[in-house]
């Protein structure tokens, strides 16, 4: 254990001397994929609430495919599958993009969490109380203003508990990045395991670190909920 800590503490925390690794890498993956996922999810959730089947149909299909297959398969598909396609290797831009492990990882994570987040926001927007919308209309708000001022702020607040769950699950999902050779926490501890052949020490260390990050996130979301959902407190 002490051997692992002495040899790997720097790699576990932020860098192995060449690249960003360990906790810094895991948090980077988490923040970027959640940010992109959020940006995908908000417009898609509004589209999913549309009455036109041509608009909500494709969004539903996207959600169904990405929530119905394991993230590991999606990651493999994007990381190893796409680069094997002929036209991708021929196009310089696409080839450059899909050759990099971290790009593929971020893309698959963002698409995956985007699908789940869409579903969360869709539910929150659908359950907006009719009184709020009626009041907005009575003030003569246009559709855009109605969404911007009433529906989206209210829906995002109510979605916060579910969304915090999704972020925690995403933290857990970032461990898959190590299968695509991205040096996150699990990759560093896996290296430590291979070097020492002490699985309990190495992976136990990873487990403790992930536990600490999970608890910190849960604590932060609790604070956020107390702030943003104060009007709903009983």
């Amino acid at each position: 254990m002490i051997y692992i800590l002495q040899n790997y503490w720097r790699a576990l925390l932020y860098s192995d001397g060449y690249h960003m690794t360990g906790i810094a890498m895991t948090l980077w993956l988490l923040v970027v994929s959640c940010a992109i996922g959020f940006c995908i999810a908000l417009p898609l959730a509004i589209a999913r609430n549309s009455k036109n089947p041509l608009i909500w149909g494709p969004v539903w299909l996207y959600g169904f495919i990405f929530r119905g297959t394991p993230l590991y398969v999606q990651l493999l598909l994007i990381y190893t599958g796409v680069y094997g396609l002929h036209f991708v290797r021929e196009t310089p831009f696409l080839a450059d993009f899909f050759r990099s492990a971290i790009n593929c990882t971020l893309l698959s994570f963002a698409l995956n969490t985007g699908a789940y987040t869409t579903e969360i926001f869709y539910g929150a927007i659908r359950d907006t109380s009719f009184g709020e919308v009626d009041a907005g209309r009575a003030y003569g708000m246009s559709r855009f203003t109605l969404y911007r001022r009433i529906i989206i702020p209210s829906a995002l607040r109510r979605a916060l508990p579910m969304y915090s769950n999704e972020v925690i699950l995403m933290l857990h999902a970032t461990t898959l990045a190590f299968t695509a050779t991205v040096p996150d926490i699990l990759k560093v501890t896996n290296d430590a395991y291979v070097a020492t052949y002490a699985p309990f020490d190495a992976f136990g260390l990873a487990a403790v670190i992930y536990l600490c990050i999970s608890f910190t996130l849960i604590f932060m979301f609790r604070r956020a909920e107390r702030h943003f959902l104060a009007h709903l407190a009983s």
């Binding site: 398969v73 395991y193 136990g204």
Partner: protein, 236 residues
């Protein structure tokens, strides 16, 4: 048609492994969940403490980390244990070898048992108190109360959560290919590497999961109807 360049049977065998693994893990985690929920709701403080530590720890740690942790440590622990037994009694010399399938089932069952514990805890609490009191007034023993009264009513409240957990287990089985079990993802990867058509074969693996999801949605709908019998709903 289902030959898939000669890899059809291989992928089919992988699919069967995936389904078997998911069902067995579901069974293990279902039982662990029932035990855990009973422990969490019991009056015994030690049982409550252990169950709380179990659910908090397991749900705070990523499943892949736990899987690697348990998968690689389990065999070492078992070896240590059998060594200790052998030292204790020199005459017997036995060892236990865990194959990846068994350790996969144990690991997945142990991890998702924590999620089932939370689902069942909520469902147990949702059963009206009067039902339990009536059962006890009839002189039923605790096990009979559980079998005839608590379990059938609890299942109705637990089903949506159970369905969710089942989908998560089904998708989590994809991770076992990382620890060397030949499930459908592993088979698709092998086929892809051999034929250089990784994209195609991984799409097949994804499609297999989609079909399994659709089937389990149907089964869940059926079960939900079954456990809703006798519940009066508002007509809208």
């Amino acid at each position: 048609m289902f030959n898939l360049g000669g890899y059809g049977p291989h992928i089919l065998a992988g699919t069967v492994t995936t389904v078997e693994l998911s069902l067995l893990s579901l069974l293990v985690s279902f039982i662990l969940g029932l035990i855990g929920a009973s422990a969490k709701l019991s009056k015994n403080r030690a049982a409550r403490g252990i169950a709380t530590v179990y659910t908090t720890l397991i749900r705070g740690i990523p499943d892949l980390v736990l899987m690697l942790l348990i998968f690689y440590s389990l065999q070492i622990w078992i070896n240590d244990f059998t060594d200790w037994l052998n030292n204790l009694q020199n005459s017997i010399d036995f060892e236990v070898q865990l194959d990846p399938f068994t350790s996969g089932v144990i690991t997945l069952g142990f991890i998702y048992g924590a999620y089932f514990t939370e689902t069942f805890r909520g469902a147990f609490l949702a059963v009206p108190k009067g039902q339990m009191e009536a059962a006890r007034a009839f002189g039923m023993r605790p096990f009979l109360v559980f079998r005839r009264i608590l379990f059938p009513q609890m299942m109705r409240y637990a089903l949506p959560g159970l369905g969710n957990n089942w989908q998560v287990i089904l998708k989590a089985t994809a991770l076992v290919s990382i620890i060397g079990l030949s499930d459908v993802v592993f088979a698709a990867q092998q086929a892809g590497e051999a034929t250089l058509e990784t994209f195609f074969y991984l799409c097949i693996a994804g499609a297999v999961y989609l079909v399994l999801t659709i089937i389990s949605n149907g089964v869940l709908l059926y079960l939900e109807r079954k456990y809703m019998i006798g519940v009066r709903q508002a007509v809208l």
